[in-house]
């Protein structure tokens, strides 16, 4: 069993199907595959969004995601993890982020995917700016995302 980790930060769109297939093709040791795709919505709180501009901290972003993938691997028996996060200009309906986890068991795959998404939301150095008819504004962090991430902290 290989513990394959793929982490990519890229401007280009990605193909969710191809990423899932890359982790499962020809393998018979995987029982569960969970994928999460985050997609740019066309409106936010009633305001139409023309596009998102996604900025990141090169270097730190990859390292921070890598640390959380390592932690997920140590917490759950995962076969493979793929995390792809886009940067640059993203228009409504386009992909923003993808997490794919595979495991022998579904609960490990589900939990690891949720854990990774919660941490991407709150501690990976990415920032979204929304462009709409009324101008451009930085998205504010949500308290609910901090709360979601906090549930994974060992007490």
């Amino acid at each position: 069993m290989t513990n394959a980790v793929t982490i990519r930060i890229q401007k280009a769109d990605f193909d969710t199907a191809r990423e899932i297939a890359a982790l499962t093709a020809g393998r018979t040791d995987i029982g569960a595959v969970v994928s999460f795709s985050g997609i740019c919505r066309g409106d936010e709180g009633g305001e139409k969004i023309a596009a998102l501009a996604l900025e990141h901290y090169p270097g730190m972003a990859e390292e921070e995601i890598g640390r959380h993938v390592d932690e997920a691997m140590s917490r759950w028996p995962l076969s493979a993890v793929t995390v792809i996060h886009r940067v640059g200009t993203i228009t409504p309906g386009e992909n923003i982020v993808l997490v794919v986890t595979t495991s022998q068991h579904r609960q490990a795959a589900f939990q690891a995917a949720e854990f990774l998404m919660d941490y991407l939301k709150t501690s990976a150095p990415f920032w979204k700016k929304e462009e709409s008819a009324s101008g451009a504004s930085w998205v504010e962090a949500h308290a609910r995302d901090d709360a979601a991430a906090a549930r994974w902290t060992k007490s």
Binding site: E55, M60, E63, M117, L120, P125, W127, K128, E140
Partner: protein, 83 residues
């Protein structure tokens, strides 16, 4: 020491990065923020609510009381909104 700024901190400061030499006595992230906020109008605006600002030293998140001694790269940014 190299300093980087991201998102609205970058916009307010007016640059993405610079090299600084803070005076002796500036030993923590907190103290560096206080010193930076006196370096001009943009800095004052960027750091007007210091508790909102997040910091990283050499690509790892740090708390406001972290020591900056030995840091190669310090970054300041708003709470993250990726994912």
């Amino acid at each position: 020491m190299k300093v980087k700024y991201f998102a609205w901190v970058r916009e307010r400061v007016g640059k993405a990065e610079e090299t600084i030499e803070p005076p002796a006595g500036v030993g923590t992230v907190d103290e560096l923020i206080a010193w930076l906020s006196k370096q001009g109008e943009g800095y004052a605006y960027a750091f007007e609510r210091p508790r909102v600002i997040r910091a990283a030293i050499d690509h790892a998140h740090v708390k406001p009381d972290a020591a900056i001694a030995g840091a190669k790269e310090i970054a300041f940014f708003p709470p993250m909104t990726g994912g």
